[in-house]
Symmetry: C2
């Protein structure tokens, strides 16, 4: 058998065992934003380090940070071969609202060929393909074509506040020739995809405060500026409803325009706007001038309300004039918008439109730069060949609307290309109830990763 | 001693005992909007009926309704004397947010000459002055100058959905010559007040639904209309920020303009706008053209956001594009606005401004008509004399921004005048944390009520 055949047979043979392992990983509720679960986040880190050691890494350790630990591991026994850094994250989004899950978020269940649990797609299931790809090489060939360094953080879902310092501190141990990340989606079922751009993010919490206490809306209504209404007005002012564009002055100044070439390639992708709309269950989409859906998702920045809270929200009615109102808002950014500059612009705009009678506090929660890399880079093409071998189909080269804050830093520090070789699907509900992962893609993903190490070694 | 002196001495003697009784009443968490506390609401009704019986009423019973029971009681032994109907409510507002209370909402505490507890001012403490006023007459003079009928409901804070049917059903037993309600405030400490107008109310819940589930704001942001933003835009559209006026077409069509006479009288009231603003802790008030604060509070309708809820509202950040957003909004109405007509106008307006891509559901929670009665009516003047005797100061004749849904119906059914003889104070936090009642006003209120029965009898 060829190496490839041996790898594929090895994967086939271990399907059940590896599924059990992933389920064990998913049972740990490593919700990084919830301070009460710090212990669970650490337990997930320790579990992952154990598995990396068991897979054959000669180093596997936890790096302490002011927040959750970073899992570092390495297998560097392929002398003269290139080194690939695998970045991923073992933390997950909160599971709320729990009552919308068909099976409990931290009790993994297999239904319809998919694995259902918080973190299945984002990112525990995806990162694990690299653990098993290395192990497959070592158990079949006794060696791996490329050296591998694993960098797995526990704070990706809260904006990666500490990984950057950790990376700078341990930069020498992370030296590499390329970076691979499996935390993105395939364009469609059956169409493997390589992602060459990510949006950045600026996330803000807005706290509007009015009267010093809640008031009776009958006794005070008409004299007092309502903080919830003021907040609504400030939010509404952030978009021009006619053009659909964000109405914050300066917001689009640094946006790199979409190229005609990209536009043409994306038009060829199997995208059905009506089906998309129906799948979402809406009677209309958010429009922005002439931009198509994929263009708006991949190449245009956004303004989004992530949460609203004010006054009485229980059942029934309470005639209260609330003392305060809170919103969480975030902006997805595209090259070359800067998260801090955008946060400044948003804050300036909100202070300009804020009515007298209320105070505004803006808290910067987290941010990340957008990232864009050439599609024709040899490493990107090597990854494309690996995916084609594993899936039997040439991958599409696409962008992605989400954010992975560390990508920009890794590219900056090591001056190496990154490849986003994700195996998620668009309907896998990352960040929402009923998150899941297609198991066929999970196993093909392990093969893709294994073949990529071989293709990468072939470049030198 | 005169009757008056005897009554005052009797009140003086029983201060401690009656305070204990009110505290017992306030300890019952009769929150009518909370279905889990149905039993507590009933317990409050039974407690009140017992006290009315003990005070001397020959009838005291609970009238069952589809919701909470109505407490009915009567003392009708003053043959030939007029009958006064005392309306009040034994239910209270929810206590949330509990963490802002200085002492627990259902553990009454006396501090600074005030009684602190949910319901102290609105309305348990106020309604109780009539129970003790009747009892004072019967225990000192052996009779009361006027006949008294008590009608005490348990659903005032949820819009009085069942009292109207109960009143119609038992109309014959409620026959009366005048209505008195103690559920309003004095204009200022030391300035007793008679209220001759109330605002009405229309309360709506708005549910905006977008995509069928919560979405990842990176993967979908830019293509999907955000329900929280859409709701914010709909809310913002309800007021013209330049004029300060409600921007719902037709909203002001039925408003009875303020008279010059009222305007002039109100200008004489001891009202300091700067102090008012500072007391509220705000740097500006809600303005509406040339209308002064009292005019806006008493003679102008409002649009208020009472609650907002959408998406992720916990600590930290979650990059979710929420599937839905909810607002509770209410309009205070003035004569002659109709609650149903206004609800229609608001709903039509919201449907007109609602963007495609989201659905809107409008739920009508409750409403009540505004009420306005002549200030020079003999019964109103009799009440004024009673208050002057008890407080030593001539009362102001004022309006009130709040709503008591039943007042319009009682006036319509019995064609009798209503008098709002409230003893609350503007800073007693009805509907908010740290509700309280001035104990001096509580005891003077008992005297006012007792003297009013006498003044009323003197009219015939």
């Amino acid at each position: 058998m060829s190496n490839a055949e041996t790898i594929l047979a090895h994967i086939e043979e271990h399907r059940g065992q590896w599924l059990d392992e992933v389920c064990e990983f998913l049972r740990i509720p490593s919700v990084s934003t919830d301070a009460e679960r710090d212990g669970e986040v650490r337990r997930a880190a320790e579990w992952l380090a154990d598995k990396l050691r068991a897979a054959g890494c000669e180093e596997a350790e936890l790096w302490e940070t002011p927040g959750h630990p970073v899992v570092y591991a390495a297998w560097r026994q392929a002398e003269g071969a290139p080194t690939l850094l695998v970045y991923g994250h073992y933390d997950v989004q909160p599971e709320e609202p729990v009552d919308l899950w068909e099976s409990p978020p931290f009790e993994p269940a297999v239904r319809d060929g998919r694995l259902w649990a918080r973190g299945a797609a984002d990112d525990k299931g995806q990162l694990y393909i690299h653990v098993k790809a290395l192990e497959s090489w070592l158990q079949t060939a006794g060696t791996c074509p490329a050296n591998l360094v694993f960098l797995m953080e526990g704070e990706e879902e809260v904006g990666s506040p500490n990984i950057q310092d950790a990376v700078r501190k341990h930069q020498a141990r992370l030296a590499c020739d390329a970076v691979v990340i499996s935390d993105t989606i395939m364009f469609a079922a059956g169409l493997p995809s390589i992602t060459y751009s990510l949006r950045g993010l600026t996330y803000l919490q807005l706290d509007v405060r009015g009267p010093k206490g809640d008031l009776h809306s009958g006794s005070f209504g008409g004299a007092v500026v309502n903080p919830a209404e003021a907040l609504a007005r400030m939010i509404a002012s952030c978009r021009d409803p006619q053009s659909g564009q964000v109405a914050i002055p300066g917001f689009y100044d640094d946006v790199v325009p979409l190229t005609d070439e990209e536009r043409k390639e994306w038009e060829k992708l199997p995208f059905d706007e009506d089906a998309y709309r129906q799948e979402l269950g809406v009677d209309g989409l958010l429009e922005e001038g002439e931009y198509g859906v994929l263009e708006r998702l991949w190449a245009r920045p956004t303004f989004e309300v992530n949460g609203l809270l004010s006054g009485f929200t229980g059942k029934g009615s309470k005639t209260v004039l609330p003392a305060k109102a809170m919103a969480k808002v975030s902006m997805r950014l595209v090259a070359n918008q800067d998260p801090d500059v955008i946060a400044d612009l948003v804050e300036e705009h909100l202070r300009r439109v804020k009515p007298a009678g209320v105070e505004l506090q803006v808290t910067r929660m987290h941010g990340g730069k957008p990232w864009l890399t050439p599609r024709d880079h040899p490493v990107m093409q090597a990854a494309g060949r690996a995916m084609e071998r594993a899936f039997g189909t040439a991958p599409a080269f696409i962008r992605e609307g989400g954010s992975i804050p560390l990508v920009s830093l890794l590219e900056e520090l090591f001056e190496v290309p990154s490849v986003l070789m994700g195996i998620g699907l668009p309907d896998e509900n990352a960040h929402a109830p009923n998150e899941n992962l297609d198991l066929g893609n999970f196993y093909a993903g392990i093969a893709s990763a294994a073949f990529f190490y071989e293709e990468l070694a072939g470049l030198k």
